[in-house]
Amino acid sequence: MARTQSADLDRKKFFADPIMVTTIAVLIAFLTLFILYPLAILLVDSFVTDQGPTLSVFRRVMGMSNFRRAITNTLKVGFLVGIASALIGLLFAYVEVYVRLRTKFMGGLFKVVSMLPVVSPPFVLSLSMIMLFGKSGIITRYLLHIYDNSVYGFWGIAIVQTLTFFPVCYMMMKGLLKNIDPSLEEAARDMGASRWKVFMTVTLPLVLPGLGNAFLVTFIESIADFANPMIIGGSYDTLATTIYLQITGAYDKEGASAMAVVLLCITLFMFILQKYWLEAKSTATLSGKASRARMLIEDKSVTRPLSILCSLLALFVILMYICVPFGALFRTWGYDFHLTTKWFVQVFKRYKGLKAFKDSFILSLIASPITALLSMIISYLVVKRKFKAKGFIEAVSMLAMAVPGTVLGIGYIRGFSAGVFRTGFLQGLYGTGAILIIVFIVRSLPTGTRSGISALRQIDKSIEESAYDMGADSFRVFMTVTLPLIKDSFLSGLVTAFVRSITAISAIILLVTPQYLLITVQINEFAEKGAYGIACAFATILIAITYSAVLLMNLVIRYFGTSRNYQES
């Protein structure tokens, strides 16, 4: 029994479709060149010197006490942030799904919290943390009269990262809790268990794998985070910042490469654990859809403390965001609270604000449609087509999710500054806007691909088959059937890519040349200098841009989206 003839025929059919073959070839080339190659060159760099293969670079790097400390620091922060975010996320999700919220106000709070991580640049909270609790922080200095409070360091990073990442856990846990069939808990209640007992013996065990999943996702985000430790870390260095300093401060490219390899190994390990072990497990027990609406908890002794706790946390997060535009409007933060527009004026007059916004905006605007289209093409190929290189394409585009920006940045420096494999090939790319656009694309590709894949899985396979059967080739099928059917996913991918690009910093900061001014790099620079007024003014405008982008997307989806036309009914 051999399947040679069908394999042979499938190959013939595959090559009868030149557009698809070309697309796949281009995709493979792109993924190899801009994801695999930069990572491979890091390995080569750190293991191979002029004298041949060696471990000396690693030995040297591991000998540095500050690097060893950075490893433990990073892991400590990641661990704490992971646990705290997962638990707070669970709390929010539980309250939303299980508890009757009496006021509209609470519902609004929850919505804002789930929305914030989408629109905010990742390091905004560090700024406001310093402005609220730092030496001249409003709360510490004026409310509590503490004049020497230090927010820099472990606790600063941990709190800021937790507040930044927990909304993601909240959304993940919400999805899981909604899928629990209420009759499971009702049965336990009926058999005499108290509410607490039900939570501990039914609800919690059911979502435990999901909680672990949320923990790992946050853990990876935390150890890959560059901007927050940079701004609020002080002398508390994490891997991302140490690598950055190693290459920008000490010009030690081999050392930085080796460090990047270490960071990559940690995130990869976590990623594989998350992807192949917990992700599958977290939904396996909860495959059943809730059959009936859940009886919400109305018992005041439960609802009061829970909703007060959630409100306080949510208000705190919102306060921190509000503090950013005010930081840009006060004359001198912490000393002089007269309103002024001088920071905004300075941004544009003295610090070339317009150019910064133009550069960031245009580069992101170019990157986002390419990202959205690429991720839809990848999703289409992965979900709907059968071919040999499919596994490769899927794996590499998902791999990008586990690669911290700093690692990618170092990889690009090593991989492209002297051309591919130091041959000078593609050397012209380095230092241009094009390489920044490519970084934007690579950084946003996994998110877009993931949403595209889940959108496509909802679509009956025979719809595309029918178009194929009526005479359309792959290209036509994709353009006239697939893309229109996942228009929503495409649009949101477009905006997500735009927002992620315009707020990106970790890889970009290593690759940007003076020719381009990017908003995030500016914010980072001024925040580090302590020029919070300017940093806040930049950040405020950035938030305004990303928020309008999201609003625009929602508007477009509402009026032109797929759901309106036919998905209902």
């Binding site: 059919k13 088959e465 029918s466 005479g471």
Partner: protein, 359 residues
């Protein structure tokens, strides 16, 4: 209407799949040869997993055969992609393009063939009239009932005037009544269009109502081919007899055989048989296939029995009786003025000698 009716020929076709659990290869379709004549309506019938859909998808080009060659109108088509084959398929889930209206759905394939606008409009209008959807061109697919969606799917395939029309269980998503009226419709339209059709279903009454020829498949191989009558009255195996219609199997032994006449011993009773076609001779074991509607329960008959179930069904009286150790179903139609036997009654199963088929 079709440009050219085409025949379909499968020569020793096999398709091998890998079991996802055991990782072992198995034949989904094995050494199947078919010859479907131009203009005929042929149904592939069988339980799920018998290879009927795989066979259809190989004709359409979605799957590639591992052995053998498929011919469409005399041309080998193994290496052609679905979009290059002169076939059009009607899918189980209809697979209408939800972002297009009815007109655009039907015009989709014509546009790909670069016909001019006026011609497309004319063809679409005509075909919609044929399937009874005139005036609905501007509707979106979700504004249609299941039956109407089915008609659009049919129109969309017909308008391409394909050499052969393929149906993959097209009626299985409709309710029972609509299924019956749609299958008559499909048959009418196929006859009017004069097109070759290959139809896949697991519903035997659908297959009988619609087909010129039925091909019954079992575990990847063809169990029997023939007209509905041939298959119903002269099944070649117990599987076929049981799958198409209801059947009682009575084990017995040939006592004598003389051409098409013979006598069998069933449970100690002598049963006269006529119209025999099989190879059985005196002394051979044999199985009598008796359709429930071909027998009645009576005071006298061939086989003594005991009634274990007697149930009034309106148009017939439903009996289960024991003939020795064998349970036999009998449906006695129009029971109004007949004697009704109750549970526990001793009686006989009575039938005409020629309505028994012997295996």
């Amino acid at each position: 209407m079709a440009k050219e009716k085409k025949g379909v020929r499968l020569e020793h076709i096999s398709k091998i799949y890998q079991d996802p659990k055991t990782k072992k290869d198995f034949y989904a379709v094995k050494d199947t040869s078919l010859d479907i004549e131009p203009g005929s309506f042929v149904t592939l019938l069988g339980p799920s997993g018998c290879g009927k859909t795989t066979t259809l998808r190989m004709i359409a080009g979605f799957e590639s055969p591992d052995e053998g060659e498929i011919y469409l109108g005399g041309e080998p088509i193994n290496a052609l992609t679905p979009n290059k084959r002169d076939t059009a398929m009607v899918f189980q889930s209809y697979a209408l393009l939800p972002h297009y209206n009815i007109f655009d759905n039907v015009a989709y394939g014509l546009k790909l063939r670069k016909l001019d606008k006026a011609e497309i409009k004319e063809k679409v209008t005509n075909i919609l009239k044929l399937v009874g959807l005139e005036g609905m061109e501007a509707r979106m697919t979700n504004q249609l009932s299941g039956g109407q969606q089915q008609r659009v799917a049919l129109a969309r395939a017909l308008v391409l005037e394909p050499g052969v029309l393929l149906f993959d269980e097209p009626l299985s998503n409709l309710d029972a009544k609509l299924r019956v009226s749609m299958r008559t419709e499909i048959r009418r339209i196929q006859q009017e269009a004069g097109i070759t059709a290959v139809y896949v279903t697991h519903d035997q009454s659908e297959a009988m109502a619609i087909s010129d020829k039925i091909i019954i498949m079992e575990k990847g191989v063809v169990a029997q081919m023939g007209t509905p009558q041939e298959i119903y009255y002269h099944p070649t195996s117990e599987f076929v007899a049981d799958f198409i219609g209801e059947a009682n199997f009575l084990r017995g032994k040939m006592v004598s055989r003389n051409g098409s006449e013979g006598v069998a011993d069933v449970n100690g009773s002598k049963v006269e048989l006529s119209g025999l076609t099989g190879p059985q001779k005196a002394g051979d074991d044999c199985t009598l296939v008796l359709r429930p509607e071909a027998a009645v329960v009576a005071d006298e008959g061939q086989l003594p029995c005991k009634v274990i179930l007697s149930c009034f069904m309106g148009s017939y009286q439903n009996y289960h009786v024991m003939v020795g150790d064998t349970q036999v179903k009998v449906t006695d139609f129009n029971p109004k003025n007949k004697k009704i036997y109750e549970v526990g009654d001793e009686a006989f199963v009575k039938f005409d000698p020629e309505s028994v088929h012997v295996l």
